[in-house]
């Protein structure tokens, strides 16, 4: 019988034995005989799934290459179990309280039962675990090859070996991993088989070690004397790489999906942890005990080109110990298979709960989840997922084709999954950690991991080219994957840990501080962080929920018997008359957790929501409502402020409106006055025009007179229109002043020249003061003379004296220039004084009868625009109009 066939037969027998053990364990569990199954020893041994083929074979390889560095892989978990057991205890307690099914479910549940986060972590886990599964397949294929070639036979290709192993593992995992739907119900068969495998691998390694020390060498002293002293100096102990590796392996025990599966999900009893906290480190110690001796033996007895990763097999083979070698092979086989089985169970749970089921719920959103057989869907999706996980591992193995040493692939995968750590630790201990922070932190860390470590691991054959690896993308050296921003970290792994976990943590903390957790996140964070302190945070108000619907849903997901059992227990606990419990909020909460044990927190929450149709008002909902109420109150406070502002605006508008109404009235009055003022000359023009047209025999004298009247009235009309426009411009402040420095005399000269004809008509006498008029004045000469023309003209028109005298006198009084226009008439009556500056004022006195027109209003506006005042300073001896202009003006001062 050839050694290959022998080996295959032994493997088959071994696997059959495992099947048997698993089967017996399942039967025992079904009958309720848990004594052995729930023992802390089985629990501890199942945790040894940590020791994969990588540890089994690779540790010796690592020791042969880098001396004591391999210890870090055992050191990290040992520190966690001895020093951080309280973190593990918290995880286990939360896992039981919240019926957590996976690491993805843990984060999703903690961060408000977030679907997207669960998907993200699931994808991360799949990407991080696939290389690891490939690694197991590779080690199995290699060990097969070594074993058979050493027997002189032609080995089958590694690919076909890996393929058959993958298929076999898929079958085993599907049979024992999906017997029960409830991921939270322990897989007793699988766990027991894993425990047996743990014993096999430990026993195998110890046997090889004992053989090496006492069979090959003559005891411990002898074996270490054979050691090349350089070996212990190969890696500097306790340098950056040491710390990094220890950190990574410690992280792995918390974050790897398969570790979470065995430590948290498969845990029956919290007290098991107490045993594991010393027993598991002891197991690791035993696993590591003979690593160095085997490495020394391999280096000293085997040819220098022998692969150190296979010393565990090749040392006994070289010594002709084929039985021991076969045992050693079985140890490696156990290491690889146990890892693959647990990892694929963990991943398939995540994939079906967080990807397949939410998609199904979304597609069938209108359907009641109880009305379809979700149970069957879940079972199928889990089985398919297991096959998919193993297929991915196999494809990865084939694609990379043995790139790099075993250890490096394992470390890459470790770091990928380790990106969950900040969100996980933050979620357990920091109440301000938010979902957005968890998602962004993981994404950022994942991106850095992929760029600095994962993609470069393909050596330039996948996405990143070799030139990019060497010189950075587009030749930008600061972006070189192994040397971002030239941080001078030579070890690519340390470099990647620094960037990915560093940026992940930084972003996680930053976003947490910047964002506010939602109500449900806050509630979950309390349940997680205070898991040991609380009794029940969920109290709610319940209205009638159809209990039958809940039963149907529970039967579909938990299974008929288990659902009935749960409902009966609850009914008894509630002391109801019927066999069914009342749908109290406690019951609904319990049921949701039970269902969450099968389908994950987010999906369970969604399903229960669909069945209860919002009939249940949970504490979370109340918090959400309270939040909304607070928002509404804030909003109404804001509304109140706004309505006050509105009232003020309305008041302002009313005032403005009153002002506008007043202005509108003034405008109407003004238009009415304008109408009157225009109609009067028009009447004369029309009447005389008709007379001229209709009367044939007119005296030439009459003809001339009437035509003159028409002419004069036309001029009056034109002037009136000019004045109206002028005043309108002036009142709107649209007047343009053309300031210049001129002698006052020039302005008065111009005014008197314009009114010369009128002066001559009336035979009036003009008085002036030539000395005072010499002063220079900075003003608009046209406008000022227009004022004086108006005043002189008015004085001539309304003076009424037999010998009219008009005085234009000026002088400086204080900081003012005063120009008085006085006449020797009877002055203006008291009644009229008040209205003379109004437009079209009707004066009452006989002498001054008629409309005052627009002259004075215009004059007053002009003086106002020049910064001065126009007033009436009447006396009994005649009228005096006074123009007062400011002279405190540098131009004027200069002119003086």
């Amino acid at each position: 019988m050839g050694s290959f066939n022998l080996l295959v037969s032994i493997c088959l027998i071994y696997v059959l034995a495992l099947f048997l053990i698993a089967y017996v364990a399942e039967r025992a569990a079904d009958r309720g005989r848990f004594n052995f199954l729930r023992s802390p020893l089985v629990y501890t041994l199942s945790i040894s799934v940590y020791c994969t083929a990588w540890t089994y074979y690779g540790a010796v390889g690592s020791a042969a290459r880098n001396g004591l560095e391999f210890i870090t892989i055992y050191l990290g978990p040992t520190l966690v179990f001895i020093g951080w057991w309280w973190v593990l205890r918290k995880l286990v307690r939360i896992g039981r309280e919240q019926r957590i099914t996976s690491i993805a479910d843990l984060l999703s549940s903690r961060y408000g039962k977030s679907g997207p986060l669960a998907v993200l972590v699931t994808l991360l886990a799949v990407i991080g675990t696939t290389p690891y599964i490939a690694l197991q397949l590779q080690s199995l294929a290699l060990s097969f090859e070594v074993f058979t070639t050493s027997g002189g036979e032609e080995a089958p290709s590694p690919t076909s070996t890996a393929f058959y192993v993958a298929v076999g593992l898929a079958v085993f995992t599907i049979v024992f991993g999906t017997r029960n739907l409830d991921a939270n119900e322990r897989h007793h068969g699988v766990v027991t088989a894993i425990a047996v495998e743990a014993i096999v691998k430990l026993a195998a390694l110890l046997s090889v070690g004992i053989f090496v020390v006492w069979g090959v060498a003559n005891g411990p002293t002898d074996i270490f004397t054979r050691m090349d002293p350089e070996l212990l100096n190969a890696g500097e102990i306790f340098n950056k790489r040491w710390l990094t590796l220890t950190l990574l392996s410690a992280t792995a025990i918390l974050c790897l999906p398969r570790m979470f599966q065995v430590i948290v999900v498969e845990n029956d009893n919290e007290r098991n942890l107490a045993t594991a906290s010393w027993a598991f480190p002891l197991y690791l110690f035993l696993m590591s005990l003979f690593v160095l001796p085997i490495a020394i033996a391999g280096l000293s007895t085997l040819p220098s080109n022998a692969n150190p990763d296979l010393f565990v097999l090749t040392v006994p083979l070289a010594q002709g110990q084929s039985t021991l070698a076969t045992f050693a092979f079985l140890g490696g086989f156990s290491s690889a298979t146990s890892m693959v089985i647990v990892a694929s169970i963990a991943l398939s749970t995540m994939m079906s709960n967080h990807i397949v089921l939410p998609l199904w719920l979304r597609v069938n959103a209108s359907r009641n989840p109880a009305s379809d057989d979700v149970r069957l869907l879940l079972l199928r999706s889990r089985r398919v997922s297991i096959a998919v996980v193993l297929a991915l591992g196999f494809l990865y193995f084939q694609f990379t084709g043995g790139t790099g040493a075993l250890a490096s692939i394992g470390l890459i995968a470790f770091l990928g999954v380790a990106q969950v750590l900040p969100a996980m630790i933050g979620g357990l201990f920091w109440s301000s950690a938010t979902r957005s922070a968890a998602i962004t932190g993981i994404c950022v860390g994942f991106a850095f991991w992929a760029y600095t470590l994962f993609l470069p691991s393909f050596g330039g054959s996948f996405i990143l080219t070799s030139s990019t690896l060497a010189n950075g993308p587009f030749g930008i050296s600061g972006l070189t994957p192994h040397n971002l921003l030239n941080v001078q970290i030579n070890d690519p792994l340390v470099h990647a840990v620094f960037w990915s976990l560093g940026m992940n943590t930084f972003v996680f903390v930053l976003v947490s501080v910047m964002t506010t957790p939602s109500a449900i996140e806050r509630l979950q964070s309390v349940q997680f962080i205070n898991v040991f302190g609380q009794i029940s945070a969920r109290r709610g108000i319940t209205r009638s929920t159809p209990i039958e619907d809940l039963l149907v849903l529970a039967q579909r997901i938990l299974g008929r018997e288990e659902a009935m059992a749960l409902f009966k227990t609850q009914a008894v606990a509630q002391d109801t008359d019927t066999p069914l419990p009342d749908p109290t909020s406690e019951f609904i909460t319990t049921l949701e957790r039970e269902i969450a044990g099968n389908v994950g927190a987010a999906a369970a929450h969604a399903m229960m929501g669909q069945v209860t149709g919002g009939a249940e008002i949970s504490f979370e909902d109340m918090i959400a409502v309270a939040d909304e109420t607070a928002q509404i109150m804030e909003y109404s406070a804001r509304l109140e402020t706004q309505s006050t502002e509105l009232a003020q605006t309305a008041e302002q508008l009313r005032t403005a409106n009153d002002k506008l109404t007043e202005l509108s009235k003034q405008k109407d009055t003004f238009l009415s006055q304008v109408s009157h003022e225009l109609r009067t000359p028009m009447t004369s023009i029309r009447t005389f025009a008709e007379i001229l047209r209709d009367s044939d025999p007119l005296e030439p004298e009459q003809l001339n007179n009437f035509a003159s009247i028409i002419h004069d009235e036309s001029i009056r009309l034109t002037r009136l229109l000019d004045d109206i426009l002028d005043l309108s411009f002036m009142e709107n402040g649209r007047v343009q002043l053309h300031m210049e420095t001129v002698p006052l005399s020039k302005i008065i000269d111009r005014a008197l020249t314009t009114t010369q004809a009128q002066v001559n008509d009336q035979g009036a006498k003009i008085l002036r003061d030539a000395d005072a008029e010499k002063m220079m004045l900075y003003t608009d000469p046209d406008r000022l003379s227009q004022v004086l023309i108006n005043l002189v003209s008015n004085a001539l028109k309304h003076c009424g004296a037999d010998q009219p005298e008009i005085a234009v006198l000026s002088g400086i009084y204080g900081d003012q220039l005063i120009i008085d226009v006085a006449d020797n008439g009877s002055g203006i009556s008291k009644d009229d004084i008040e209205i003379i500056f109004e437009k079209f004022a009707k004066l009452s006195s006989k002498v001054t009868a008629g409309s005052a027109g627009l002259g004075l209003p215009i004059s007053r506006e002009i003086v106002k625009n020049l910064g001065g005042t126009l007033s009436y300073e009447g006396t009994q001896n005649g009228a005096i109009f006074r123009v007062a202009l400011p002279i405190a003006n540098e131009h004027q001062q200069a002119a003086q």
Partner: protein, 121 residues
């Protein structure tokens, strides 16, 4: 016997025009240009018709009309009112005050002569 019309109006050109027109029609025209003592002039002259402007210095045409209607001797004298404002409000006020006719400036010569003649009949 010529009919006698008293024209109470402050615009000299309009006075001149109306005097010319009415005189040519054989009507005797007296004029008065101030609002304050207009009613007294009416009482004193007792004309057959009063042509009264609304906007007069010192007193409004409406007030003068009211005074005329209250003076027993001349209370029934027909009054033709002239206004340059042309607003409906003025027309209503004129009717309330007892105006016989109301005309808006500018007016047609033919129309005012016809109105004067009809009021004199």
């Amino acid at each position: 016997m010529h009919e006698r019309v008293l024209l109470i109006e402050d615009e000299p050109h309009i006075v001149e025009a109306l005097s010319f027109l009415l005189t040519r029609e054989g009507i005797s025209v007296s004029t008065h240009s101030d609002g304050i003592d207009a009613a007294q002039t009416v009482a004193r002259l007792a004309p057959d018709l009063v042509i009264l402007d609304v906007m007069l210095p010192g007193k409004s045409g409406f007030d003068i009309l009211a005074e005329i209607r209250q003076a027993e001797a001349v209370a029934n004298t027909p009054v033709l009112m002239l206004t340059a404002k042309g607003q409906l409000r003025d027309r209503a006020a004129a009717q309330a005050a007892g105006a016989s006719l109301f005309m808006t400036k500018p007016f047609s010569n033919k129309e005012i002569i016809a109105n004067v003649k009809s009021l004199l009949k």
